[in-house]
Symmetry: C2
Subunit: 407 residues, 2 copies
């Protein structure tokens, strides 16, 4: 594909209007929105207003006057069309890891006779660590099987099945509906991590009968570095589940300052401490970048961009790299992984040419395509630059091999 | 005391320089810095820089370029003189409730043969809720005794003693040194909550042999609404304790993406998910309001301000209210509580006159004195206005009795 052909696709892109919602450096091809979403144009004013006018002028009264107390649910409601859930099934809170701990703990507590949390091998690491810590604390077994054996491994001892919806390396997608059905047939609950799918592909939590889910605010949702996470609890389960992380914001009457915990009705019982108002302000601006956006269009563009990248890279330098993502676009979310023996140095050489992806040890280069702001022309240009670096071996320099960087 | 006499004290105040570090509405007497600290003047620029220059321009590279990865420890180090700990014993993370869960869980895990978490009755509610949830999860007993019976109740079954350092109602102070010594004599660990003392009075965590502590970032530390919390783990314990909330940021090598959790050495193992960078930015500005401030001066001013308030209120209208804080200033931190049968309406009438304190059901009015920005003249003026409202019974109006407000 020529850059001109790509520009024609950009001109016809039904999501082109969304690009103006971001501030991005000129001449940068940013293909790492799956790690940290770009800065929404509305964020600086939102932060200034929250800090100066609300906190500064109205101080403690802002909890009432500006409705801070309701922000965890009000902002979460904006996720409803993005993840296919009812507004009252969603909450913004804590970090993804802490939210996962709460929901996995609640699921295990709801199945007290069952002793197994089931997951896949090579699930996202922090999800494994959370489950390992919880399992040790509650005297449970964490069982990790190959991804394609999860459904078959669900049995009468399975309290919960927890999986990342989209694999952080390959972008392969679990079949939510099938896993939920298999889990429910055995009486188990499902806990999904949507970190690499929310905002990238269409999700239907209610339609596929998900029980519980968590997700990250700072990737495709553009909520800023370390943004608060979100959690989902299906309506039908809310009043039966109990969070192990009980704090005053999840109490039925937080300002009664009672000695004994009484969980709030519905989703609020999954709050713990005081929510980060500045974090919520930025995340709200992030979620607003999805206003009037169809997730079907997002998913379609995600697949077109990733397919163009695969095709253009393989056509130009297929022998140099090996695709580690599914070749069928229906099995992929919105990022693509190629393996190369010197992936770290190649990625540094790309960054040096203003193409930003990321490296995952030992051999993976990961490229994320954010449908709201990445263009077809950028994807073709990135493939050209990658091919240029690989064919000229310009990555093979000491300055690209310094491993001091942490991400 | 006349307002003129108070102004003379302000002129001689060794902390007067710090007041310029805040933006406060004119004509407002803000006596609620114990609930939400005032806006530091540096916050708006700090947020703008973090959002626009760092996140916006440098995107994912900011984790290296701007050292975001180290902010939880770098910012925490600024707490060192405020709480009397070594810099490497401190960490910024999560909310106070979540931090307390981690440290209580770690303490209980370190004393596996012991089944009791000891606390006081009417401890801060969220601390009780956290401990109740943890105790249920780990099969422990939470035992709450009257505050003055805690030391006598520590025994060989006590895994951990957890107390708020300063009572959120009365401002009475626990004797840290005595509780730590009694706990250690029985082999128990101590977990302190400094939410109502950090930034208000001098604290010596190391000098009094504290084991573990948590505290709030948004009260006297001025970190903004829902600021991240802090935690302290004594140097001698760090590598033996294990957080129950295991996440990737607490892993020995987060970017190796290993399947199995290996805790980081030292304080970093108490991190869980990705830290809130915007929250850290604001909290850093909050901690910077303590630069070149002596905590001895802070404590001395806290006691003078609270004593002036007590004296002036009782002199003017002692029969109308009842002091619920210790009368001896050495037994008080930096807030004062008066009881009144119609406390809610009185507080609303005060707010209507631009004096901001808070109400704690059913009968308490709480007034916090932030030594960095409250003045002696404000305290005298607040006492005059309170007396005026009480003597004239101007609180006795329907508009002051509407209970719609949440805080």
């Amino acid at each position: 594909m020529t850059r001109e052909e790509a520009e024609q696709l950009d001109a016809a892109d039904p999501l082109a209007f969304a690009r103006e919602r971001f501030i991005l450096p000129e001449n940068l091809i940013y293909l790492d929105g799956n790690s940290l979403g770009a800065l929404p144009r509305a964020v600086p004013a939102m932060l200034a207003d929250t800090a100066e006018r609300q906190w500064g002028d109205d101080l403690i009264g802002s909890w009432n006057k500006h409705g801070w107390i309701d922000w965890p649910t009000r902002v979460a409601a904006k996720l409803s069309p993005i993840v296919g859930a009812q507004t009252h099934e969603l909450l913004i809170a804590d970090s993804t890891s802490v939210c996962l701990f709460k929901l996995l703990g609640a699921a295990a507590h709801a199945r007290p006779q069952r002793k197994t949390i089931l997951t896949q091998q090579r699930n996202f690491p922090t999800d494994l660590y959370v489950a390992q810590g919880l399992a040790e604390m509650m005297g449970l077994q964490l069982k990790a099987v190959p991804a394609d054996e999860v459904i078959g491994a669900i049995d009468a001892d399975t309290a919960a099945v927890t999986l990342v919806h989209v694999d952080y390396r390959s972008a392969s997608i679990h079949d939510m509906r099938a896993v939920n059905a298999a889990a429910h047939a055995e009486g188990a609950l499902t806990v999904w991590d949507l970190s690499h799918s929310a905002g990238a592909i269409a999700i239907d939590l209610d339609g596929t009968a998900c029980d519980l889910a968590v997700g990250c605010g700072y990737k495709y949702l553009n909520g800023g570095p370390g943004a608060p996470a979100f959690l989902f609890v299906a309506d039908r389960l809310q009043n039966d589940l109990q969070s192990p992380l009980q704090g005053w914001m999840g109490h039925a009457d937080p300002f009664a300052f009672e000695d004994d915990y009484r969980p709030a009705r519905a989703i609020n019982r999954f709050l713990t401490g005081t929510p980060s108002i500045l974090g919520l302000a930025a995340l709200e601006a992030g979620l607003d970048t999805f206003a009037d956006v169809s997730m079907r269009d997002v998913e379609a563009k995600a697949r077109i961009l990733s397919q163009i990248f695969i095709d253009e890279v393989e056509m130009r330098c297929g022998a140099e790299v090996r695709l580690e993502s599914p070749r069928d676009p229906r099995e992929r979310a919105s990022h693509v992984v190629f393996a190369h023996a010197d992936a770290y140095a190649v990625m540094q050489a790309l960054i040096d040419r203003n193409v930003i992806g990321d490296f995952r040890a030992p051999t993976l280069m990961r490229f994320g395509f954010a449908p709201l702001y990445n263009t077809h022309a950028q994807v073709v240009a990135a493939a050209e630059i990658l091919a240029d670096i690989l064919i000229a071996r310009s990555w093979d320099q000491p300055r690209f091999k310094d491993r001091a960087k942490v991400t």
